[in-house]
Symmetry: C2
Subunit: 311 residues, 2 copies
């Protein structure tokens, strides 16, 4: 994935996405002891950066593929992103979701025109059901994070931030499936000036931390974290990018995630989901190292149940 | 107050305020049946538009006045705004607050360097205590909304919005003490193209609605509303401006305020306080009248207690 791939991706998806604002807060700067620029992907269409990758992946399909539709399995933001991206482009989307997925998430997918296909709530059942839809409908399977076009799409958030703040010394991103941090690392590599990318990851789902340590893809034994968007695994397409271009992963405790989330709600006045708070939590955990630096922080999404807040 | 007064005010306060972003949401546009532009003053310094007026008023004092400090009575956003504005400009601020004001509000004022002077929690006690400080310290008394410089400062939010969206047909603002809507009306008059200003006001504190009907300043008998920023009275400086330049006030029920607040949290992903939701609530209540129009909506502030949400 080259510099011009990112530039072309950004040009391609622009009509379908919001250019999200960058917010700052003197109080948060004081707390961190650094100069922070928050890229607010919680204001992205459908409420998360996932829209960028989904739009890019659907736009890159051939006309024949578009005519047969797309399929994914997800109960999270990618389900909504693919449904809305496909609808915006005039493509049919089949979304495989576990039967016990929250009604609010099913409703959101339906409101974006996605056709929900229910399955049992195990990873294997999901994959099998998606493969079945792929076969039966001839639909194109899109992975939420381990896909070249998805990674390039996600990288455009950092690209926009670097257009506005070209001399960031660091870029902090949450790490879940690895699509966002891989795209961010490419953007920092090609468009930053020695901009280092650092991931935030919950201790409860630290496959990326352990994978960087061992140099090979490790898996999560458990996924006990409030950051539900980060319970997923790195993949074989994004891991090599992460290995090459990400400086470091900082792991954070659950209480640090909740505290950072609350800080962003109270001080930045933005609704962000727990996964989004992990990047700031990582920075604050090791803040002595980053004193006085100019730092970008990706706020990945804002889809949170107001009836079920951790504070 | 002339066009050049607003322009000069904006230039004067710019170094001390954030230029806040304007957000849009296709889903909220669909719900309203119109094209909405939300001016996010919840992202303003200290979390509300009040910073604009406070900065302007303090900057307009003579050096001698600045040396003696400023005083106000407020338990709301103006207390924090004046403390922070004065601190930013290097002026001492005395803030008269009722003894029973929430600790979190006192803490905020102190964190901005304001000196809190406690009083009994009646309107008369507040005014007397402030007058006493005025005398004893020689401090300059600033009213939160019924002041020429405050009104001009508040008008710069709409001015910025009209710079970005010059052809708004309507501008919706909440109405409390009247400073914001008066300033907004001036901005619309001088910088809009036939842009009509409409106020949203709770039924439980509808002095502005009744004042426009009768043509003279009416008072609130009760102030039963969740929109705590709007429990205050219009004044004799802002009312003539409102009478001349505001098209209409739409009153809203408490349930409509809460519903609009929730909609903004869930769809626009912004933390706003109940008072901020009143403008959108007013628009949605009468939305058939505004179908297809291009409409600015002022989100006035985001200082809300996360432990005490109405949903």
């Amino acid at each position: 994935m080259q510099k011009q791939d990112l530039t072309a991706t950004h040009r391609r998806i622009k009509p379908y996405i919001h250019r999200t604002p960058v917010l700052t807060s003197r109080l948060l700067n004081e707390i961190a002891g650094a100069e922070l620029y928050f890229k607010c992907e919680n204001f992205q269409r459908m409420g998360a950066f996932k829209m960028r990758g989904a739009v890019n992946a659907v736009l890159q399909l051939s006309e024949e593929q578009k005519a047969r539709g797309v399929v994914t399995h997800s109960s999270g933001n990618f389900a909504q992103a693919l449904a809305l991206a496909a609808q915006s482009i005039g493509v049919k989307a089949y979304i495989v979701m576990p039967q016990n997925a929250p009604q609010v998430k099913k409703d959101a997918v339906r409101s974006y025109g996605g056709e929900i296909i229910e399955c049992a709530s195990t990873p294997i059942a999901r994959e099998e059901r998606a493969a079945q839809v792929e076969q039966e409908k001839g639909a194109y399977f899109l992975h939420p994070s381990n896909d070249r076009e998805v990674i390039l799409g996600q990288g455009t958030a950092a690209l926009e931030l670097l257009e506005e703040q070209p001399d960031l010394a660091y870029l902090f991103s949450p790490v879940g499936g690895g699509g966002l941090i891989a795209g961010t690392a490419l953007a920092a590599h090609y468009f930053g000036k020695d901009c280092q990318v650092i991931g935030g990851e919950p201790f409860g789902a630290d496959d990326a931390y352990r994978s960087l340590l061992s140099g090979q893809l490790e898996t999560n034994d458990t996924t006990h974290t409030i950051a539900d968007g980060l319970r997923t695994q790195l993949g074989d397409i994004n891991f090599p990018v992460i290995k090459e271009h990400v400086t470091r992963i900082i792991r954070v405790e659950e209480a640090e995630i909740t505290a950072a989330m609350r800080l962003l709600w109270e001080r930045l006045k933005v609704i962000i989901e727990p996964s989004s708070a992990v990047a700031l939590a990582a920075l604050l955990r090791e803040k002595d190292e980053f004193k006085g630096q100019k730092i970008g922080v990706l706020l990945s999404g804002g889809n949170v149940d107001l009836k079920n807040l951790p504070f």
